[in-house]
């Protein structure tokens, strides 16, 4: 083991100037009971071991002095301002905003799932997962996923009929996207058949049976007019359906490549979402879900995770949370509905979801709250959620729900060295991102 490790370090030594190498010792590591040291090389965790690992040369050592080493916090719901049907929430975030990153890492936050806001109904663009690297030179692996999910909203503050209309619209979008997808699948199938029937093309490309004929066939498709002139001489080229980038994102959802992420709070919408996911056989992630505890069993059965927002509702009645109130310009109805029919939020709701077996991630619902996502998870624990689950909800479970569970969220070999050290009071002692010390608490 040690020999292999040495080899690994030698291989990395060429990179030493830029790569982040470090040994953390004397840490309590809940992810690896018994271990107390972590070896970081090239910005990743190379080894989690007991005692003090033997390392060659002058490797910097960070003495944790008994502090607890955990994975950096992930805000699984960092809504940016704005949305775009064809875009991604990445466009609403400046990954080089040093002040933002400094504040976030000082609270132990090392990654965000950027989501569009949901002021507009329907599809609002793609969610992205970014790491909060403190230096610009660490640009590689800054964006872990540029398509973590396709996000959509219904207007939570709206009345029942408006929301019903929007559901209908979303269903229509899916029906259209399904037809669009089928048209393209048919086209590709026809194209393959057409290529096979072209004798001279097949002969020329017999060496590479799959990829090349397609490329050629596309050329042929474009020369449709010419093909018509020669239609007696060979089979007819299939007609390419029109391209629609908006539908392409929905097609990725229909192909189960990425999940559909819906912001819903009311239980009626949770039920509608489950029906939609079932009808179109798509993966679903819910965002918000203040009333989701009322459908906990159904969510658990369908295996649908929930990304929770603020543990403390912004107001006592659960009405007019600020993320909905932003749409005030649309008239009084929005605020009015929430006041007349407040969300049935309840204390201990997260614990009820957890008890039913629903997978939970915790976010904050807004980029400006992201730095306190760790505190938010602890407040869920104060509200009755098991503390171990609450911790996982901003680390490993969050990463899994976001589709990056193989790279961040754990103190484990092969994972990015995005780590935070906590003292016994839960305060952040130091934060590392990609093995670089991004924050260190000043001596008191």
């Amino acid at each position: 083991m040690r020999i292999r490790l040495l080899g690994c370090l030698v291989a990395l030594s060429a990179q030493l100037a830029v790569a982040q190498n470090l040994v953390i010792v004397n840490a309590k590591i809940p992810d690896a009971p018994g271990a107390s040291a972590v070896l970081v090389a090239g910005g990743k965790i190379v080894q989690v071991v007991k005692g003090r690992p033997r390392v060659p040369g002058r490797m910097p050592v960070l003495d944790a002095k008994g502090a607890t080493l955990v994975a950096g916090r992930i805000d699984a719901w960092a809504a940016v301002e704005g949305n775009s049907r064809l875009g991604t929430a990445l466009d609403g975030f400046d990954p080089y905003d040093r002040d933002f990153i400094r504040l976030a890492v000082s609270q132990g936050v090392t990654a965000l799932c950027l989501t569009p806001d949901h002021q507009r109904e329907g599809s609002n663009g793609l969610a992205a997962v970014v790491r909060l690297l403190p230096k610009v030179d660490g640009a590689q692996d800054r964006v872990l996923s540029d398509a973590s999910a396709l996000c959509a909203g219904l207007g939570v503050g709206e009345g029942a009929l408006t929301r019903a209309e929007r559901w209908a619209k979303l269903r229509d979008d899916f029906a259209e996207a399904k037809r669009y997808r089928e048209a393209w699948l048919d086209y590709e199938e026809e194209l393959a058949g057409y290529v096979e029937e072209l004798p001279e093309v097949a002969a020329v490309d017999s060496g590479t049976p799959q990829a090349k004929p397609k490329a050629k066939a596309k050329d042929d498709g474009k020369q449709d007019a010419k093909g018509k002139d020669d239609k007696d001489k060979g089979p007819k080229a299939p007609k390419q359906p029109p391209k629609d980038r908006g539908k392409d994102a929905l097609v990725r959802v229909l192909a189960r490549e990425i999940p559909l992420r819906l912001h819903v709070e009311r239980v009626a919408d949770v039920v509608n979402a489950l029906e939609l996911a079932d009808e179109y056989d798509v993966r679903l992630v819910l965002e918000g879900g203040r009333e989701a505890y009322l459908a906990a069993e159904a969510l658990s059965k369908a295996g649908v995770p929930v990304v929770l927002g603020q543990a403390i509702p912004p107001t006592a009645s659960g009405a007019q949370p600020d993320e909905y109130a932003r749409g005030e310009s649309r008239g009084r109805s929005r605020a009015g509905w929430l006041e007349l029919y407040p969300l049935r939020s309840r204390e201990g709701a997260a614990a009820l979801l957890d008890a039913a077996g629903v997978t939970l991630a915790v976010g904050t619902g807004s980029l400006e709250r992201s730095r306190f996502v760790g505190l938010n998870a602890e407040l869920y624990a104060a509200d009755g959620l098991d503390p171990v689950r609450a911790e996982a909800a901003v680390t490993r479970t969050a990463a899994e729900v976001l589709g990056v569970g193989d790279r961040i969220g754990r103190v484990e070999q092969g994972y990015f060295a995005d780590l935070t050290l906590l003292d016994d009071d839960g305060a952040v002692v130091a934060t590392l991102v990609g093995g670089q010390i991004a924050f260190r608490r000043p001596a008191q």
Partner: protein, 372 residues
């Protein structure tokens, strides 16, 4: 109206006394309050609704409620709420509502009080909103069983909320000038709430959003001997950190997770200058749990843990002149106490039970859920 209110209060008080139980609440650690000499461990003996003794031998035949390993603290005191007012305690038609008593309009049985109780708030001051320069008075209320106390509090506002186009004042400068003129005039006479505040008989909470007005008001308060508590607007205003508040109370919050870093640093900066920092939720405008969350956020921005706990308990009680009755577990104080799974300023600590006047007012239901 006044005699009836007092009679009602006395009747309530009598009822509370007659049925209050004696109990010993035992945990692993007692945080009895600033300056209270308490053994680190043991129980809090409550007799006839008041704290009898800390630690030591328990009296014979008294029920002992045991919470192994739990942390006991005084009940939280929130200096500014509008609970039970059905969102209707903000009147702005007149700039000075000299003798309005909002408690006569408050529904003391409203479920919002229960929500505050489950957030650990056992005493709260219910006040008018910020729409008038002098909004009238409110008073201290226990969040359990609507027991109203005899501690009235005046409410002032030197903020944009108190300005209107159709009546004076229309500017912050004029608002201060009018207030000063009226305070100086009312200093000697009058039986209304405004005069009582002007004489220094009544504590008053003033919401301020401008550091200049806050400074002027503090000077005036010293000159006239007012019992003033400033409530600083949570909008980012870095100059608040310079306010001369040696030994004086100041109310901070409510803060949410999105609060500006400049705002969150102010409690620590003012505490370092000697201010008695207190925290509020302004419930139901914000959730009652925002009071503790505000303190947690202040701790993450540099405030010490003992100061933050004092800001939820002792400091607001002292600001009302009730430092020996609430916000503390010293013998003789009201038997209002909280049972926590850990230190209350560790965010993940859970509130396990709330006692008010020695009664078990709420305890966390079994993990299976059940009724809220």
């Amino acid at each position: 109206m006044r005699p009836t209110a007092i009679f009602g209060a006395l009747t309530l008080a009598a009822l509370t006394c007659a049925t209050a139980q004696d109990v010993v609440v035992e945990g692993g650690q007692v945080l009895a309050g600033k300056g209270v000499d308490a053994p680190a461990q043991g129980g809090v003996v409550i007799q006839a609704g008041k704290v009898g003794s800390l630690g030591g031998a328990y009296p014979e035949g008294v029920r002992v409620d045991r919470y192994p390993g739990a942390v006991l603290t005084p009940g939280f005191v929130d200096l500014r709420t509008h609970l039970g007012g059905l969102n209707d305690l903000d009147e702005s038609a007149e700039a000075f509502a000299d003798d309005v008593d909002v408690l006569s309009a408050v529904d003391l049985g409203h479920r919002e009080f229960g929500q505050a109780l489950r957030a650990g708030v056992t005493s709260c001051v219910v006040l008018p909103g910020d729409g008038a320069v002098f909004g009238g008075r409110g008073g201290l209320v226990k969040t359990y069983r609507g027991a109203q106390s005899d501690a009235p509090v005046a409410k002032l506002s030197l903020s944009d909320d108190a300005l209107r186009e159709d009546r004076a004042p229309t500017s912050g400068v004029m608002a201060y000038a009018l207030l000063r003129e009226r305070l100086e005039a009312a200093h000697e006479e009058g039986s209304d709430a405004f005069s009582a505040f002007a004489r220094g008989d009544l504590p008053g909470l003033c919401y301020v959003d401008d550091p200049g007005n806050a400074r002027r008001l503090l000077r005036l308060s010293k000159a006239l001997g007012l019992r003033l508590v400033l409530h600083l607007s949570p909008e980012p205003e870095p100059d608040f950190k310079e306010l001369p508040l040696q030994g004086e109370p100041v109310l901070c919050g409510p803060y949410d997770l999105g609060a500006d870093p400049l705002t969150l640093a102010i409690p620590a900066q003012l505490a370092a200058r000697g201010a008695e920092v207190c925290f509020t939720s302004a419930a139901p405008l914000w959730h009652p749990r925002s009071q503790r969350a505000s303190a947690l956020l202040a701790v993450r921005s540099g405030l010490s843990v003992p100061q933050a706990l004092d800001g939820l308990t002792g400091a607001p009680a002292r600001a009302l002149g009730l430092g020996d009755r609430i916000g503390t577990l010293e013998p003789g104080a009201d038997g209002d106490l909280l049972v926590w799974s850990g230190h209350p300023l560790r965010a993940s600590s859970r509130l396990l039970a709330v006692y008010v006047g020695g009664r078990l007012a709420w305890s966390r239901p079994a993990p299976q859920g059940g009724a809220q």
